[in-house]
């Protein structure tokens, strides 16, 4: 347990000292969501209608933005060798790094989302469903994204490839997350979509680290 916690602490410290913690991802999220009214025009009914989808797409891209350095920096400076030889399985190393990634990306998005929902005019009743859908869905974004990040960890410019690999895998989470908020905005029950979204997260949490670890083993060869 101690090595596992040490990895989370370390990645959090690195994120706060060199990347401004979650600030960068949140800033991107805010800007991306703010661009929507500029693009579609100031039509409150239209914005309120597309708000759930736009919020989720912005969250997804903000998560993606911070993914490509998840393992790459450690592979480049040799830290991944030290991590791979530590007395805990590489799968747990991956999971620890994903938890740190979520704490610095997913969690700040949860806090910033209500502000952006207000900007886009999301109906008030849909706020709880929006927070719940992001809370249940974003952990899946971190661990599924780790697969793409691991596969491109040994590449110089892996960022775009990471996006191409990972975005299709984000589709179920995106659909269910946006559906939950949409349903709630129309006074329909959001619970079925939230449960399905949670199910994806629960399946991805134990499985994705195995895939990502296999990718990392190739990256450090």
């Amino acid at each position: 347990m101690k090595p596992f916690l040490a990895i989370i602490r370390r990645d959090l410290a690195i994120a706060f000292r060199t990347g401004g913690g979650g600030a960068l991802g949140v800033a991107f999220f805010v800007i991306a969501a703010t661009l929507v009214p500029f693009g579609v025009g100031p039509v409150p009914e239209l914005l309120a209608r597309i708000a759930p989808g736009m919020l989720w797409i912005a969250a997804l891209l903000a998560c993606l933005l911070t993914l490509d350095r998840l393992f790459q920096a450690d592979v480049e400076d040799g830290s991944m060798d030290v991590l791979a030889l530590a007395p805990l399985p590489l799968e747990l190393v991956v999971l620890g790094k994903c938890i740190a990634h979520w704490l610095t990306t997913g969690l700040p998005l949860l806090l910033a989302a209500p502000v952006m929902a207000l900007t886009l005019g999301l109906p008030e009743g849909a706020y709880p469903a929006m927070i719940a859908s992001l809370a249940l869905g974003t952990p899946a974004l971190s661990v599924i994204g780790a697969i793409g990040a691991a596969l491109t960890a040994g590449m110089r410019r892996g960022g775009v490839l990471t996006a191409v690999l990972v975005l299709p895998l984000y589709v179920p989470t995106l659909i269910l997350g946006a559906l939950a908020v949409n349903a709630s905005a129309m006074n329909l029950p959001a619970a079925p979509y939230l449960m399905l979204s949670g199910a994806i997260t629960l399946a991805a949490l134990p499985l994705a680290p195995f895939v990502a670890a296999a990718g990392l083993r190739l990256a450090i060869r």
Partner: protein, 224 residues
């Protein structure tokens, strides 16, 4: 627990780097990997560390097989590579504190590890301001921090001044004197008594398989 490698074959890309490589390092012994660039020194060290898969052949450390029990094997090994595995944002002390937690070593050993590599006065300095030689020393401090019987050192003295290189050589000698083993790719003389030399590229199996043994008797009865 002697280190025994037999019949190792390694290909990088489509090129066979070496084949049929075997050696034995007894407790307290050392093996110096010599040879030109591209001879397979780093590759061999990464295989012994469990970072590269064993394509063919077998490596055993005191009866623990690298192929079958990679986890157990790796827990007895410490590898330092070309890269120092340092994060610019951390101080020297924080770097070792993380490694201590990660490898299950006591944080009480950090002070001693920094002293062993003459880094105590830099403990609170961020890695970003260290010189190349100081970074290298901090990268090597793991050797003094974590206790493992087998050291795998890849060019440990690169970018070190003469005094620091001598310090590292002394650490390697002390490690061997304490019953540890060292396999090192290095161009300087670490001064380990009875250390054998091996060039993976020119190794010929028919010349005999036992190299790197200070005391051949230790190996008697070991199946090749």
């Amino acid at each position: 627990m002697p280190l025994i490698a037999e019949n190792l074959r390694v290909t990088r890309g489509y090129r066979t780097v070496f084949t049929g490589l075997g050696f034995a390092v007894p407790e307290g012994g050392a093996l110096i990997l010599a040879g030109a660039n591209g001879a397979g020194k780093s590759t061999l060290l990464r295989i012994l560390a469990g970072l590269l898969p064993v394509e063919e052949g077998e490596v055993r450390l005191g009866g623990v097989s690298l192929r079958r029990d990679r986890g157990d094997f790796v827990d007895r090994v410490l590898h330092t590579g070309h890269l120092d595995a340092l994060k610019p944002a951390f101080t020297a002390w924080e770097t070792l504190a993380f490694q201590a937690d990660l490898y299950g070593a006591s944080r009480g050993r950090i002070e001693g590890a920094l002293k062993a590599l003459d880094l105590a006065f830099l403990a609170d300095q961020p890695v970003r301001v260290l010189s190349a030689g100081q970074k290298r020393r901090l990268g090597l401090a793991r050797l003094a921090l974590v206790e493992r019987p087998l050291w795998l050192l890849d060019e440990p003295t690169v970018s070190l001044d003469a005094r620091s290189a001598a310090r590292v050589a002394q650490m390697a000698r002390d490690h061997c004197a304490g019953g540890g083993m060292v396999v090192a790719a290095t161009h300087i003389d670490l001064g380990i008594e009875g250390a054998a030399k091996l060039d993976p590229a020119t190794f010929a199996p028919e010349e005999g398989v036992t190299v790197g043994s200070r005391d051949d008797a230790v190996l008697e009865g070991e199946a090749w």
